[in-house]
C-alpha cells in the first residue's frame, strides 16, 4: 500500500504505473502459482547448480518481511507489530537452517552492516538483483517464455558487479529474499461465513479469498555473478479464515523458511549426471 499524493494529475498515470509495477508483478506471480488453496513451490536452477554444502560463506541481504491484515473489503493493511515479530522469527529460522548445512551465514539487517563495501554499493547490488528478479518472474513464472532460454534452466546473471561485490566482502553466495503473510480480519471472515451461508439459498460465494503467504528467494553465486537458484512459495486458501502457516510464530517462520529454502534441487545437468552415476553403480553391482 504505497500511497502518494502528487501535485499534478498530468503525469499521475504514468507514475502510478511505475510505482505499481513491482507489486503488480508479485501479485501476478502469486496468481500464476496459486490455482487452488494449498502450498506450492516452484523452483528454477542453473543447469550446473549444486546446492551449497560444507564450508561456504553465505550473505543474506536485508530479508524483506511484511505481514498484513486483510480488511473486509479485501485491502491488505500492513501491521507493524506483526511484521516486527515475523521478521525476528524468520531471521532466527534462517540462521538455524543455514547452520545445519555447515555454512557460515551473515544476515545483514542494515545496508552498512558489513565491512569492505559501502551502503551505496550494497544498494546497487540490491537494485540490480531486483531488476533481474523481475525478469525471472516475467519469463519463468508468468508464462512470457523466451525461445532462447527454453530448456536452459535458470540463465540469468548479475555480472561482474556481483563478482566484485563478492571479492570485496569475501562471501561465496548472496541470498535475496522477500516474504509476506496476511491474515483475514474478523470482518473478512464474517463476509466469508455469509458467502458460504448464501450457498443454501442459491447465492454461493464459498471462496472470496484474501489471506495467504507469498515468498521468493534468489541465490546468487558471487564467484561467477550468476543467479543460480530461484524459488517462489505460495501458501494460501481461497476461503478467508483458513490458513496454511503463520510466520508470526516461531514454528510458522521455520516452516516458511523450510518451504522456501529447505528443498534446493540441483540443476538439470547435475541431476542427469547423478542419475547416470547411479545407473553405472547399479550396473557395476549387478556384474
Amino acid at each position: 500500500m504505497i500511497e502518494v499524493n502528487g501535485f499534478s494529475a498530468r503525469e499521475s498515470w504514468r507514475k502510478r504505473e511505475k510505482c505499481m509495477r513491482r507489486p503488480l508483478l508479485l501479485a501476478a506471480v502469486a496468481a500464476s502459482v496459486a490455482t487452488t488453496g494449498c502450498v506450492q513451490t516452484r523452483q528454477f536452477a542453473d543447469l550446473q547448480f549444486s546446492p551449497p554444502q560444507g564450508d561456504y560463506k553465505l550473505l543474506v541481504l536485508r530479508p524483506d518481511v511484511q505481514v498484513s491484515s486483510v480488511t473486509t473489503g479485501g485491502l491488505s493493511e500492513p501491521r507493524a507489530d506483526w511484521t516486527e515479530q515475523a521478521r525476528g522469527h524468520v531471521i532466527t529460522a534462517l540462521r538455524e537452517q543455514q547452520a545445519g548445512r555447515g555454512g557460515k551465514t551473515l544476515i545483514m539487517e542494515r545496508r552498512d552492516a558489513i565491512s569492505g563495501v559501502t551502503a551505496e554499493q550494497v544498494a546497487d547490488v540490491e537494485r540490480l538483483n531486483a531488476a533481474v528478479s523481475q525478469s525471472v518472474a516475467l519469463h519463468k513464472y508468468l508464462g512470457v517464455t523466451l525461445p532462447t532460454k527454453r530448456r536452459r534452466g535458470l540463465e540469468y546473471t548479475l555480472g561482474q558487479e556481483a563478482v566484485r561485490f563478492g571479492q570485496r566482502t569475501g562471501y561465496d553466495y548472496a541470498l535475496f529474499m522477500h516474504a509476506e503473510d496476511s491474515f483475514a480480519s474478523t470482518g473478512r471472515v464474517a463476509l466469508q461465513v455469509l458467502g458460504i451461508a448464501g450457498c443454501f439459498i442459491g447465492f454461493c460465494a464459498p471462496n472470496i479469498g484474501g489471506a495467504g503467504q507469498f515468498a521468493y528467494a534468489s541465490l546468487v553465486d558471487l564467484r561467477t555473478g550468476d543467479v543460480v537458484w530461484f524459488n517462489v512459495v505460495q501458501a494460501g486458501s481461497q476461503v478467508a479464515g483458513i490458513k496454511f502457516g503463520d510466520i508470526r510464530s516461531k514454528e510458522g517462520a521455520a516452516q516458511m523458511v523450510d518451504r522456501l529454502l529447505g528443498r534446493m534441487k540441483p540443476g538439470k545437468d547435475i541431476r542427469r549426471q547423478q542419475r547416470q552415476q547411479r545407473a553405472q553403480r547399479s550396473q557395476g553391482a549387478a556384474q
Binding site: 500500500m1 504505497i2 500511497e3 502518494v4 499524493n5 502528487g6 501535485f7 499534478s8 494529475a9 498530468r10 503525469e11 499521475s12 507514475k15 524483506d64 511484511q66 498484513s68 480488511t71 473486509t72 473489503g73 479485501g74 485491502l75 493493511e77 500492513p78 501491521r79 507493524a80 507489530d81 511484521t83 516486527e84 545496508r111 551502503a119 551505496e120 544498494a123 546497487d124 470482518g187 463476509l191 455469509l194 458467502g195 451461508a197 448464501g198 439459498i201 442459491g202 447465492f203 454461493c204 460465494a205
Partner: protein, 406 residues
Amino acid sequence: MSAELSRRALLAGGGAATAALATGMAEARIPPASLNPLIGPGYRPTDRDELGLWAQMQRVEEEVAGSNILVKDDKLNRYLQQLIGKVGGPAARDMRIYLARIPDFNAVMFPTGFTVIFTGLLLRMRDEAQLAGVIAHEGSHFLLKHQIRQYRSIRGKTDILSFAAMLGGIAGGAAGYNTGDLTQLAQLGTILSILRYSRDLEAESDALGLKLISQAGYAPLSMSETWEQLIGESELSARVRRKRPDRGYSIFSTHPAPRTRMNDLRVSATELTVPGRTYDRGRERYLAAIGDIRPTLLDDQVKLNDAGSTQFVIETLARDGWNGQLRFYQGESLRLRNSPQYHQRAAQSYTAAIAYPDAPADAWRWHGIYLMKAGRQAEGRTALQRYLTMAPNAPDAPFVRQMLVS
C-alpha cells in the same frame, strides 16, 4: 427484448445517479480560513493502521534517500530544506525533501512526511513564491494526514461495498434475481466516490498551502499563476503535436481539473491578501539557488522532444527577461525539429543568444555552423574561433580546429 431494454435503461439511469451522487455537480471551493493543521511538531502515529503504514514507509524512504537519480547538490538541497522550514507549518522541522532528476512537472508527498520534488518543477518555477506554493501544497498533505485519511475512507467504502454486494446477492438469490449488474454499478459508485474524496483532499491541500505561504509573506497569487502556466503549457504542447489538450475534467480524475484549481486559488488569494502588506516573490534568491543546475534543467526539457512544451516554458521564463542561456535553448529546441523553416528560426535564436554576455560556448558553435551553411564563411570562422577559445577542451574541439585549417 423489452426486458433487456428495461434493464439497460435501469442501468443507464442508475449509472448517472451514482455518478452524480458520488461526485456532486460542481465541487465547491474550500476557503483557506476553514483549514488548520491536524498535527503538531514531532508527530508520531499511535493508531494501528497508521503505525503499519509508517513502518512500511521507512524502507521506501531509505530507498528514495539512496536513489541515484537524486540531485546531489548540497547547496540546493539545503535551500529546499530551509524553504520547507518556512512554509511547513507545525511540521516545518520534521519534513524532509528530496530532489529527483526527472524532467516532469510533479512533486509527491509520502505519508511519513518526506516529499520528492522533480527537477522539471524547478525548471518551471519563476520565483521562490511559486516554488514555496508547491512545497506548501505537498506539506499540507502531511499536515492534514491525507494519506491515512484517504486509506481509511477507501477501507470504509470497500468494506460497505463487500457486505452490500454479498447481502444483495443473497437477497437476490432468495428472490431468484441475478444482482450482478447492480453490484457492478455499486462498484462504479464506490470507485467514483473514492476518486471524489481524492479530489477533495487535493483541494484541501491547495487551500491550506495557500494559507501557509501567505502567512510566510509570499505573494498569494503565485499559486494560481503556477496553474495558469501549466494550463498554457499543456495546451501549446497539444497544439504543436496536433492533439486535443487534456483539460482534466473527468469524474475519473484523482486531482481536480487544473482550471478549477487555478480559479479557486485565485479567489482564495484575494481573500487572503491583506491590503497594504508587501509580499515577497524571492526571484533573485531563487535564481541564485538554482543557477548552477539550470542549464541541466533546460537541457533535459529540450531532450524530451516536446517542442510546444519547451517553447512555452522558455517563453514563460523569458517574461522576466531574455538572456543568452534561454535564447540558446530556444535555438536547440527549434533546431531539433529539423525542418527548413525551423532551422532558419534556430539560427536566429543562436544569433540572439550570442548578443548576451552569458551565452554558452555551444551557442557560438551553432551560430558559427549556421553562418557557414549560409555561405558566410568568414563570419562563421570567427564564431567558431570564439567557441574554441571558450571551450578549448570540448569533445569536438579537434574537429572544429581541423575545419578551420582546411
